[in-house]
């Protein structure tokens, strides 16, 4: 086993100041193997990848490639040692053209074009500015650039997170080709089905250690999740929640009538009552962005009306919507946080910003509500100095939880669990339910159909800018999916 190991990492450790990100992790990747690296947010995956590829220097531990020690000082050095990585953050400079970007890394444009053609990607113009190319294609460009260097070890850190299914398939094809020719792949993804389908082995990290190593096909989701969560694992019970019947007489918190906005959104009507979580299901680009932006006051509608607690809302600015108690949590967490400020400040920010309140802020009052929120969120405050040091999951808990501190009554969640590990996801589900139970109205768009049943009371389906169906939360993923494609329920059974 260890004789034909390509990559062998032993006891790799890294601490940022007093925060230990990686305690002591081993990882072995065999030659010709597609190896998955799994773990909850904050388990140390990203830190390990960074230490492996020379983005950061590790504190301790040895890394060898085919028996030779590897000590990279920058990702560029990895190319020579046979390690090429596609990072979570794009390594393409937005203001430069594709050609200049390739020049920067000494990559031959012709070879990249060939790799792209091999992946079945066409139409990327080499003199186009990177900022003008959609993100999924930048990821493919990143991949092609890595492949050109003919790496022995291809590191893919969350590459599929930003990819639609057909492009993700192309990534898997490239992975298969890489392993067929004797190379290896280190694959990091939150999508377990991808790992089970396309990886030969997996290593699971937890709390900065490697805790398990097995073939994912054997253990399937259950074993993977169990390893990731450790003793935190619990059976997934969605049903225990008592479904409250919201009385019809109650004034809806949010009433939307005949709303049209943007290019797509047409004649949308919906209501959300206090204590209710309404799920919104839609494929990519069906107008959900425009709907949420309009409700949050970030975009003006072309037609229709929005009523909040019975009174019309004509928000020209998010501040106006916030004043009426409407809070938006965007999918991109970094948009909502002040990355360089503390957790406390980030929690206190919305209440400080409430335009209704003037004069100096009572430090004591603020502390009280912030402490309550921190306690409730069970956020790891070791990194309290700056919000950007939190893991993605904790950041998202922060963006949702801070609205708790000030009692916002209408919450708009836009795909709140995107790119978040299973353990943190559950905490977020609980959080959303708790917010609703305290009397708030929640409208939640999700790209994971399972969440409809887990979190929501009912589901609305948006297709080509129109609400095409309303389904109960337990309608099942298939029915939801069919509706999202604009098919009728009857067609489900026949097809």
């Amino acid at each position: 086993m260890s004789t034909d190991a390509l990559l062998a990492a032993r006891g790799v450790a890294k601490a940022y100041g007093s925060v230990v990100a990686l305690r002591s992790a081993d990882l072995t990747v065999g030659a010709g193997e597609a190896h998955a690296l799994l773990g909850a947010n904050g388990a140390g995956k990203s830190t390990f990848v960074k230490a492996l590829t020379g983005v950061i220097r590790r504190d301790r531990g040895t890394i060898t490639m085919a028996g030779e020690p590897v000590e990279l000082r920058s990702p560029a050095e990895g190319y020579e040692r046979g390690i090429a990585a596609v990072f979570q953050d794009p390594a393409l400079i937005p203001d430069l053209t594709v050609r200049h970007n390739l020049r920067l890394t000494g990559t031959d444009p012709g070879a990249v074009r060939q790799e792209l053609a091999g992946l079945g990607i066409e139409g990327i113009e080499i003199d186009e500015r990177v900022a003008d190319i959609p993100l999924p294609f930048l990821r493919m460009l990143d991949l092609a650039r890595a492949l050109v260097h003919r790496p022995r070890l291809l590191v893919l850190d969350e590459i599929t997170a930003a990819l639609p299914a057909d492009l993700a398939e192309k990534v898997f094809t490239a992975m298969a080709r890489q392993t067929r020719t004797g190379g290896s792949v280190l694959f990091i993804s939150h999508r377990l089905e991808e790992v089970i389908e396309h990886c030969d082995m997996c290593t699971v990290f937890r709390d900065g250690h490697d805790v398990a190593r097995f073939a994912p096909q054997e253990g399937r989701e259950a074993r993977i999740v169990q390893s990731m969560l450790g003793d935190r694992v619990e059976a997934e019970v969605a049903a225990e929640r008592s479904r409250r019947n919201v009385a019809d007489g109650v004034t809806p918190r949010l009433e939307v009538e005949g709303l049209s906005a943007g290019d797509l959104l047409r004649d949308v009507s919906l209501t959300v009552r206090p204590g209710e979580v309404v799920g919104l299901v839609a494929l990519e680009g069906q107008g959900q962005d425009a709907l949420f932006e309009t409700l949050a006051g970030d975009r003006r509608p072309r037609a229709g009306s929005i009523r909040v607690e019975g009174r019309p809302l004509t928000a020209r600015h998010p501040a106006a919507a916030i004043r009426r108690g409407i809070a938006l949590v965007p999918a991109d967490r970094t948009l909502a946080l002040l990355p360089k400020r503390s957790i406390r400040e980030n929690i206190a920010l919305p209440s400080r910003a409430r335009p209704a309140r003037w004069g100096p802020i009572s430090r004591r009052r603020e502390d009280r509500s912030v402490n309550r929120a921190v306690e409730r969120l069970s956020i790891d405050t070791r990194a309290a100095a700056q919000a950007r040091r939190l893991s993605g999951g904790n950041q998202q808990k922060l963006t949702i939880g801070r609205w708790l501190a000030e009692g916002f009554r209408t919450l708009l969640l836009f795909d709140p669990t995107r790119g978040i590990d299973i353990g943190t996801k559950r905490q977020i589900y609980d959080l959303v339910r708790e917010i609703a139970d305290s009397g708030a109205a929640v409208l939640m768009y999700t790209s994971e159909l399972r969440e409809i049943e887990l979190v929501c009371d009912r589901a609305l389906v948006l297709h080509r800018g129109e609400i095409v169906a309303e389904l109960p939360a337990d309608a099942g993923e298939e029915a939801l999916l069919n509706a999202a494609h604009g098919l009728h329920r009857d067609e489900v059974t026949t097809g």
């Binding site: 990702p75 393409l92 937005p94 430069l96 186009e128 999508r191 159909l449």
Partner: protein, 334 residues
Amino acid sequence: MTTPTPQLTTMPAPTSRAARFRQQHGWVVGVAVLLAAMILVRYLQVERFGGFELRALTAGTLMLALLAMAQGVVVLSGGINLAVGALMVLANCFSAWLMEDASVATCLVIALATVVGTAVVSGLMGWLVTVSGMPDIVVTLALHFVFVGVALLILGGPGGGTNPDFSRMVVGGYSDPLPSLLWLVAVFLLVWVPFRRSRAGIATYAVGSDRQAAFLAGIVVARARVQAYVLSGVFAGLAGIATTASLGSGSPQESIALGALLGSVAAVVLGGVALAGGRGGLLGPVLAAFVLTLIPAILLSAGANPNVAVLLEGLIIIGVVMLGGLLELRRRKQ
């Protein structure tokens, strides 16, 4: 688990060549048109528009144009250099101190040594910025005062001199606009253009655009940033030599350094370089330097009150930049 996306994802049509040109060079074309219009106005204003007028324009702009390049290259790399004016004054005083009563050949050697000196000093400044982790604004502002102080130590007061033939060589005689223009074009074509096309030049843009992505792409970020400061020092040193040649002496005055610095920032902004870094070029700032030199001349000839002229100058700068911003906004909305 996740929603499968059934439709095939296709790459949107690439932007047309025309659109790309508009986007990359539109601002420079705009500034060039503005400059042409102003030269036309000046031509109509002045009775006998000829060599004398043109020489006043080219020689009068040479210093600011070089300084705009000195500022521009650092801004492109995502920083700012508040010491460009002081570096220029330092180069001016140092060269004037040595060039007094020197032969033309000696003057050339001194000029070369001065430029090398400012390049080294500026490079050290850049190194200090990247190593110390202090904000570039703080470091360069502090060094602004240091450089002016050193200039004062060298000359003690206005003084020094240069060889008149050397002066003529650099900024031309009474009505000869060509030398200063040729020097500017030469510096632009022989220093900036090759640099911009090199990997080092692309790296400068890269660190200005997205430092993290640049690092991940394998650029040594600190080196790229220091390079920008070195080049900035070269341009600022050349601006100092131009000043020595045009004044015929050295002036160790803080007000000159400050005025030159503000002029350089104005030219960079007017020239379409994004203050956030990574976008623009140096042709825009150079053209903008000409515009900035022409504005007061035109206003004064038009009979504007000199006090009002300063105010109008400011309003014109804001107006042009806002117009550019509005056009950019409209483009993005489409």
